[in-house]
């Protein structure tokens, strides 16, 4: 039987941020993740923005954490060695009414400590962002807004936590929280019982599915879906900043943004959906997204779309719930983490640690905590001299597997063999960008299946897009004929 001081349920960005924070202390921590890879829920399918905190209500938890977390990112990304860019946000006014409302928000944002925020008139806006709708009235410029890859961020947090002693159980589902006399005693999981006194529920969309203890908290989650389109990097329609419409009460609206990897991305819309796995894209949804995007950048069409996807947010009410459970002692909730969850994640980690301390967990700092994470090698980002030297040392970086993104065998090998390594095609894709380009794995798919076999021992029939029943190959050539032949013989 396994025994831990703290178990975090959920290996998304919130769970991994909490894990990394707790890995600073001399305690035994585990993360349980139902899927075989980290960050496969809400984390993998969102806009990838580090919000400036413009237009937040600082009286809400999500607003406060957004404001507090944004400034942490420069230091955090340098520790984690991941790409991040403060490309700046532009909240665009289309008319005088928008303008009035936005001017008011600027004052609020200034009072909230959002740095560098200012109004740009029409000409200044046009100069900053030439692709903008020429009918735009002006925009609020928030230079501290940034872009990041949500998956890379999550994996880096997870890997750093792992190297500081956190144990990850992937492909492990929590069935039930077991309590005794009102105290957490352990977890019943798909891999047996785990004894633990403190549990953090960071299970995203599934956070209300672990039995009575959660139901007793009176939490009901709803799934809100957002659809997106991602464009080829060579698509001539480009933006530098993240463009927002004037936000409404419920949503930040449909956004046009570059991704950290240089693709144009548009979305999301916001739809209430039934169930927790309604991850399809729809004609109406995509049309709505395109219409919204065109209000900001009229030239956007569908000629260079390389991917459509949809993501679900867990919405509890209008705010995050980050608090000790009322009825179960030892249980901490980090649920209802909708936007700006990605931005707030580092502060959610700190806040959860404080809560755990308050409810009785002893936290003593680890003198040997390693805050730096060694990044994977990325020959495509090197100059020719560096790249030649790297390939000379390790020829695996010389063989290009994904032609669209220029990803090498060495990078894919590292993605599979590094801690919390890739075990699926999507896992390789999110770690390396192989298969994420314009051919969408048409060329490198067969090679990736071979590499999963070579480095992870996964047979071609087991190789899958994302685990579950998503295997790519079903039969050997001639297998159906042989089977058919037997049937005929039987008749």
């Amino acid at each position: 039987m396994q025994k831990f001081d703290v178990v975090i349920i959920g290996g998304g960005v919130v769970g991994c941020a909490i894990a990394r924070e707790l890995s600073r202390y001399k305690i035994k921590v585990a993360v349980l993740e139902k899927e075989t890879e980290l960050g496969t829920g809400t984390t993998k399918a969102n806009t990838g923005l580090i919000h400036s905190g413009f237009n937040v209500d600082k009286n809400t938890i999500k607003g406060r954490l957004n404001l507090e977390a944004n400034p942490l990112f420069d230091r955090l990304v340098s520790q984690l060695n991941i790409p991040f860019q403060r490309n700046g946000s532009l909240v665009v006014a289309h008319n005088r009414e928008d303008y009035q409302a936005l001017l008011h928000s600027i004052e609020e944002a200034k009072a909230n400590g959002v740095k560098g925020i200012k109004w740009l008139n029409k000409d200044e806006l046009k100069e900053k962002e030439p692709a903008i709708n020429k009918d735009s009235f002006g925009a609020v410029f928030a230079p501290s807004g940034g872009i990041i890859c949500p998956f890379e961020f999550t994996l880096a947090l997870g890997q750093n936590a792992h190297s500081n002693g956190v144990v990850f159980f992937l492909g492990t589902e929590v069935k039930k929280i077991i309590t005794k006399e009102g105290w957490v005693e352990g977890l019943e999981t798909s891999r047996g019982f785990i004894r633990v006194s403190f549990v953090v529920n960071a299970a995203g969309l599934l956070a209300d599915t672990f039995g009575e203890e959660i139901k007793n908290e009176g939490i009901t989650l709803k799934a809100r879906r957002g659809q997106y389109l991602v464009y080829d990097r060579e698509y001539p329609v480009k933006v530098k900043h993240t463009l927002f419409p004037r936000p409404t009460e419920v949503s930040k609206g449909i956004i046009v943004t570059p991704t950290i990897h240089g693709n144009l991305m548009v979305g999301p819309n916001a739809e209430q959906v039934e169930g927790r796995d309604a991850l399809e894209t729809t004609e109406t949804g995509i049309k709505e997204v395109l219409e919204g995007a065109r209000k900001l950048v009229p030239n956007i069409d569908t000629s260079a779309v390389i991917r459509m996807f949809s993501g679900l947010r867990a919405v509890a009410n209008n705010d995050f719930i980050i608090a000790p459970a009322k009825k179960t002692r030892g249980l901490v909730l980090a649920v209802g983490i909708q936007s700006p969850g990605l931005t707030a994640a580092p502060r959610i980690g700190e806040l959860v640690a404080e809560i755990l301390k308050d409810i009785g967990l002893g936290l003593k700092g680890k003198p040997d905590f390693q805050e730096e994470r060694t990044p994977l090698k990325s020959p495509g980002k090197m100059n020719w001299g560096e790249r030649a030297a790297l390939v000379e040392k390790d020829l695996d970086y010389g063989q290009v597997i994904c032609r669209c993104e220029g990803i090498t065998r060495g990078e894919i090998r590292d993605a599979i063999l590094s801690p919390l390594g890739a075990v699926t095609i999507d896992g390789i894709k999110r770690r390396t960008r192989a298969a994420s380009g314009r051919c969408q794995s048409g060329f490198c798919g067969p090679r990736l299946i071979e590499l999963l076999k070579e480095f992870a021992g996964i047979s071609p029939f087991e190789a899958s897009l994302r685990g579950g029943e998503t295997q790519i190959l079903k039969y050997r050539s001639k297998e159906l004929l042989l089977k058919g032949g037997e049937n005929i013989a039987d008749q």
Binding site: T281, I306, F309, L481
Partner: protein
């Protein structure tokens, strides 16, 4: 970085690259090097195990690997060097080429001329916006062909093919031959995009239904594809409400268009024709950058490997003869007019009109039409015309203009190629 000089560097060892390399050698280039990213030379032909290749060029019916094999052997006899498992990372306008490989590391080649022969890639599900979930079982037809013919695996057993491009038709038959249930080939347009012979030999002969003006709008199934939703469309491709149906399947193969692979070309500053998706080339298949040539599917998506060979031989010959001094400079443009989607070459060197060589023009029709006269005009005046019994977008049109006829063209006026007036759409 290892640095070397070569006469002609060819990117891609498919039929285009091999054809160009052999011709370059025959025309006096001393060192000809072909860079190939795959493990074997031959390009996509290696997975095209069906027959139908070489009828025009060899007057013999060959399979894809046989067709490629002839060029691979010839290349080897001609002392063409082929470096496989090597990827070109960059080409610059000074014809410096950087490659990367697991065997040689990074290498820099300085070439007197470069031939781009990278071929094309397939359009994907997202490029044509099929909505729905993201299950396993959706592949481009070419990827499925590689899995089936090279790797030895099948992606599923109940197959729907969307798009009637040649690969789609070939793969519909291939899947049937593998014992799969092929539910049908769906095509948005009122006509097929592939060769007529493939419609007959791949679909009709195997009783595979072809559904014209009916397309896939949505895929269903969480982890594994469970079926597709289809809808019929009218002539304007607008969906017809009430004609939706659900077709159960575990595999959807897409044959919805090929796109020339010009990422390297664009980065080298080569001008791309938006109509072909390939470089703008002159009659020698030289791009706007002197000394950089392009041929095969990187220039225009061909129907037949035989035509690729014809085009590659033009490019290879010119690449061998290229010297900085022999540029004429003055060029006129050839444009696609009424009824014609594109024309290759897009430019003609004026001095060429005075030479004793015929010129071959490749073009595609916009719509299927019977009894058509294709005319070449300058300033509205017809200079040349050829009547064809039938044209369709799925079959490339080749028109050869003899040296005598070429002399009728003015050396300083652009050429417009169009379908003559008064043709009936068929």
């Amino acid at each position: 970085m290892r640095t070397s000089d070569v006469d002609v560097l060819v990117i891609g060892a498919g039929p285009a690259g091999l054809g160009a390399a052999i011709k370059a050698k025959e025309n006096g280039a001393r060192e000809v090097l072909v860079i190939e990213r795959d493990f074997e030379p031959g390009g996509i032909l290696n997975q095209c195990i069906h027959n139908g290749f070489g009828l025009q060029y060899f007057s013999q019916e060959l399979t894809g690997p046989e067709y490629a094999g002839r060029f691979i052997r010839k290349a080897s006899r001609s002392d063409v060097e082929i470096q496989t498992d090597t990827m070109v990372l960059a080409v610059n306008p000074s014809r410096e080429v950087i490659t990367s490989s697991r065997h040689f590391g990074l290498q820099l080649f300085r070439a007197k001329s470069v031939v781009l022969a990278m071929g094309c890639r397939e359009r994907t599900r997202d490029a044509i916006q099929i909505y729905g979930t993201r299950p396993a079982g959706i592949l481009t037809a070419g990827t499925a062909q590689r899995f089936t013919n090279i790797e030895g695996f099948l992606p599923g057993k109940k197959v729907v093919v969307l798009g009637s491009g040649d690969i789609g038709l070939i793969m519909a038959r291939r899947m049937k031959l593998e014992g799969c249930e092929v539910r049908g080939v769906f095509e948005l347009l009122p006509y097929t995009n592939g060769l007529s012979r493939n419609v007959v030999q791949c679909l009709n002969d195997f009783s595979i239904p072809l559904y014209l003006q009916e397309t896939v709008t949505e895929v269903l199934g969480k982890d594994r594809l469970e079926g597709v939703k289809t809808i019929k469309v009218d002539k304007k491709q607008s969906p017809l409400p009430g004609t939706e149906r659900f077709v159960p399947c575990d595999t959807l193969l897409l044959s919805v268009g090929l796109i020339p692979e010009n990422e390297l070309s664009r980065k080298a500053g080569i001008k791309i024709d938006p109509l072909t998706g390939g470089p703008v080339v002159n009659q020698d298949r030289m791009t706007n950058i002197p000394g950089i040539f392009a041929c095969g599917n990187v220039t225009q998506v061909h129907d037949l490997a035989d035509d690729v060979t014809v085009e590659s031989e033009i490019a290879g010959t010119a690449a061998a003869r290229f010297r900085k001094g022999n540029l004429q400079g003055k060029e006129l443009s050839v444009e696609a007019g009424r009824g014609i989607r594109y024309v290759v070459p897009q430019r003609i060197d004026v001095s060429e009109i005075k030479k004793e060589n015929p010129l071959i023009f490749f073009m595609r029709a916009e719509v299927p039409t019977r009894q058509v006269k294709i005319i070449f005009t300058q300033e509205g005046e017809e200079k040349f015309g050829e009547t064809l019994p039938f044209i369709k977008p799925g079959e490339i049109i080749k028109i050869t203009i003899s040296p005598e006829m070429l002399k009728k063209f003015k050396p300083d006026k652009n050429i417009l190629v169009e379908v003559g007036k008064g043709n009936n759409n068929g």
